[in-house]
Symmetry: C2
Subunit: 209 residues, 2 copies
DNA sequence: AAGTAATTGTGATATATGTTACTTAATTGA
DNA sequence: TCAATTAAGTAACATATATCACAATTACTT
């Protein structure tokens, strides 16, 4: 079953031999929504491949303020984990299951070898880096150039995309935490977006037009 | 001479054979302070290795607002260029010489081969990615969690570090552009930092205590 | 030395966001 | 069904940053 999922999600990017090796040596793990998959300062000795679900990558400062940086989706890997493993540093981010999710943990040792002798793996990793770089730039753009109302709207659209639905189930407090602002500010700006007919508000849900 | 510099800056990270191959196939280029080395939307077919000087990596939005993301220093490469080359996308950042700088441009073709058969190159690239990721996270932290006065002070300290001097030569307008704020705000906050004895102001220069 | 340009200082005011306090509405659970 | 809890709405005020206008200072040019 793991092998099926693995094939389905990674056949485009990884070659056959590698996939069967991964399904042999990787460890399958399942997480529930809101489970912490990787926490800040955690020591890592594996690279996760996301089979199903979505994962939030979150940054936190010393005062406990949080910021959502980007999402991982099925078929993705966490390049942060890779840099941690290679540099034997601790995790600088938190990975939280946005939905129930399943993934394969690959021990680092194997990964080093593949890097040496498997081109599909090399390309996969390089491409992952490229995607994450772009996402980080997007995050920087939002923070540097956009006002909170724009950031909020972008957040909602992105969330609708990830959840594959127009009506997302979320409360204002959670949005505030992801955007590192306050619940009151979010409520106010959501009301404004509703008045502009960009969204429709309900309790515990928001419909993105 | 290029080979000397190359050796000096990269002997720790790249193996002997590779360095001599680079000095053969790479193209030496010199830039003056404020020269644009890579511009946004430019198509790239080389990877730069920085031999001397410092380079600002800058992001710009559609309205022309800018933000300094990080610096490259001697011994660094531009991972953004790498992702551009591999993905054959256009540059998403601008690289500007902070001082007179010199670098070696490596044609992508060679690089691909090295990635396949040279471990020191692979490690160099992976390590570069790690460093840049950390710098991007730092940039995100500054934007998400810090007020402008803190960002400004951090900027000044960093600038002093890069320039290897306590007294940096810069005008308020330039700082404002790097931080994506206005000159007036910068002047005001600089005055505040001076009152707190963290810096000393002069015309065209700031001494970081 | 005088005039011009560049740089910096600063008050006044506008806007965006943060904070506090409280109300209203929906949901849950005994 | 009613009390308790959670979520959302909103007014009032505080603060950070942006913007405008102009003065003061320093450097540069002729």
């Amino acid at each position: 079953m793991n092998t099926n999922l693995l094939n389905q999600k990674f056949a485009h990017t990884l070659d056959e031999d590698l996939i069967s090796e991964i399904s042999e040596k990787g460890i399958f793990k399942a997480f529930k929504k809101d489970d912490i998959i990787i926490d800040i300062n955690q020591t890592l000795n594996f690279i996760p491949l996301l089979l199903t679900g979505d994962i939030k990558i979150i940054r936190e400062d010393t005062d406990g303020n949080e910021l959502l940086i980007y999402f991982l989706e099925a078929g993705d890997t966490c390049t942060m984990s890779l840099t941690c493993c290679l540099g034997t540093t601790k995790s600088k981010i938190r990975a939280v299951a946005e939905k129930d999710s399943s993934l394969i943990m690959i021990p680092v040792q194997n990964m080093q070898t593949w890097f040496h002798n498997n081109e599909s793996w090399r390309n996969f990793i390089l491409q992952s880096y490229q995607i994450r770089f772009d996402e980080m730039l997007e995050a920087i753009d939002s923070l540097a150039f956009m006002k909170m109302d724009e950031r909020l709207y972008k957040y909602l659209k992105n969330m609708a995309m990830v959840d594959e639905t127009k009506t997302i189930s979320i409360k204002h407090q959670d949005i505030a935490e992801d955007l590192n602002t306050s619940r009151v500010v979010v409520s106010r700006l959501l009301k404004k977006l509703e008045n502009e007919n960009k969204i429709k508000l309900g309790r515990n849900k928001i419909e993105v037009a």
